[in-house]
């Protein structure tokens, strides 16, 4: 069923009894052209673009839990393309462009809201660094605007500009950045893929790969062996656990990242703002909750929960930036498992096993990448060649020295 104002009206008049489930729950077939391991945002968008852009519809998405039960269902929903290095920036800008047309493209309300993203600066040196980043963005054709204190005061009067320790001098604004409704992104892609014939198989765990003479021939699952000509893995925080079964050791560590939501409030935070000293970012959902987060806890973890030290740190940073949020009560917090790469940038590449493709290393920026990640991974799988904007997101870049390290911190995943 295609959604439109007419379909909403028609169903309203008939007591909303006409709505149907938007994807099937099929049993797996014996063989597919392509299997995607991981039914999160990236896996579902990959399947969607495989079907829509590359004409591959004999595709299955295999998900261990339920659809969208990982990080796509629990993140801070920020979309932006304010990176500095060319290897990243053109990729994230493709994502931004896909976000801008996403709802029309897959006929689903993903509540994409281009409310702007502002990175605050607190010193002359930091202003210069942001001016440089903004210039790098503009060289790639991306919008960036350096705001001085006066312009920022007009936009966000509630910030603690005269903070005794970290006074705010201004910020770097990407107006096209913003937020999107994370669950709806997963649902929209799932629906679009399912409509085109993709089988989404939930509650089906991949327990191994069928590899014959160095070529992947399918996957072993809790629902039996499913053969495939090609297999793509998009398993985020569990990438290592899945790829272990193919015998690959990766430049990935799994870390826990916490995030928080407050009770619903009237509109007070009108954009997405990140703190310039200490890691803190905040926006307000359309429901009114303040959505905020900070840094990784900093140690390897698969626990999907963090410790109190980081809760305290995040809240302190928030209080230093927007003291008024101190009165809001936190409703819930959660931890997600991040596939931290050794340079802080993602990997979309072939693997040493023929026919096995890898999509990982999203660190804690995977949500904004969802559309481009799917498009580029689909391109790689369908054409056996990287998408033009993803040519640098190689698995072997660590060995060859062509790392994409935005912050210049080196091979220390908990610092990216």
């Amino acid at each position: 069923m295609r959604y439109s104002a007419f379909s909403v009206l028609k169903n309203a008049l008939s007591g909303h009894k006409g709505w149907k489930p938007v994807w099937r729950e099929p049993e797996p077939k014996a063989e597919y052209d392509v299997i995607i391991v991981g039914g999160g945002g990236h896996g579902l968008s990959t399947a969607y673009y495989l079907a829509k852009e590359f004409g591959l519809t004999n595709v299955a998405v295999i998900e261990k839990g339920y659809l969208g039960s990982g990080n796509i269902g629990r993140n801070t929903t920020i979309i932006r393309s304010n990176y500095m290095l060319p290897g990243n920036e053109r990729f994230y800008e493709l994502s931004m462009k896909l976000w801008e047309g996403l709802e029309q493209d897959f006929n689903y309300n993903a509540m994409v809201s281009q409310r702007g993203v502002i990175n605050l600066y607190h010193s002359d040196g930091q202003r210069d660094a942001y001016a440089r980043r903004g210039n790098a963005m503009r060289l790639e054709g991306v919008d960036a605007e350096l705001l001085d204190r006066k312009a920022l005061e007009k936009l966000c009067p509630y910030l603690d500009f005269d903070n005794g320790r970290f006074p705010i001098q201004g910020g770097l604004l990407q107006k096209r950045g913003g937020t999107a409704r994370h669950d709806a992104v997963a649902w929209g892609y799932a629906r679009g893929a399912d409509m085109r014939g993709v089988d989404i198989i939930q509650n089906c765990e991949v327990t191994g790969f069928v590899i014959e003479a160095g070529v992947v021939k399918g996957v072993e699952t809790s629902k039996g062996t499913i053969r495939a000509k090609k297999v793509g893995v998009a398993a985020a925080g569990n990438t290592t656990r899945v790829m272990d079964k193919a015998g690959l050791r990766l430049p990935i560590e799994s870390h826990v990242l916490q995030a928080f939501v407050t009770e619903g409030l009237k509109p007070i935070i009108n954009t997405v703002i990140t703190f310039g000293v200490g890691h803190f970012y905040i926006s307000q959902s359309d429901k009114g909750g303040l959505v905020f987060g900070g840094d990784l806890d900093g140690y390897n973890s698969y626990a999907q929960r963090g410790n109190l030290a980081m809760v305290e740190h995040v809240c302190e940073a928030g209080m230093a930036m927007v003291p008024m949020i101190g009165r809001a009560r936190v409703l819930r917090s959660w931890g997600g498992i991040m596939d931290m790469s050794m340079d802080g940038s993602p990997i979309i590449d072939k693997t040493p096993v023929d026919g096995l493709y890898l999509n990982c290393g999203w660190c804690y920026g995977g949500f904004k990448a969802t559309p481009a990640s799917g498009m580029c991974f689909a391109h790689l799988i369908a054409r056996d060649a990287p998408h033009p904007v993803a040519t640098e997101l190689r698995l072997d870049r660590f060995e060859t020295g062509r790392v994409i390290d935005e912050t210049g911190r080196g091979a220390q995943p908990n610092l990216h």
Partner: protein, 99 residues
Amino acid sequence: MRIPCPHCGERDHAEFVYRGDATVVRPDPDAPGAARAFHEFVHLRTNPAGLHKEHWYHEGGCRAWIVVERNTVTHEVMGAVTAEAFALSGGLSGRKANA
């Protein structure tokens, strides 16, 4: 999460700085294949879901490097020894230690 420092006793993990996998071994730069070995040492990790031996630095205490064994799925801390004791006990036997 509390870490039993061999020198200071059980302390809050916030007193410590995390370094990472303690089982990777710096290769011999003069050995054949050293470039590949250094790539594996610097970049590749076993990243286990389960027991993990890892370096922590007790910055807010004795300022010693220690090796903590911890379960990455539950955050349960199994024990800790000094980095020196870990090395002398043959703990640096490569990736097998995290298998």
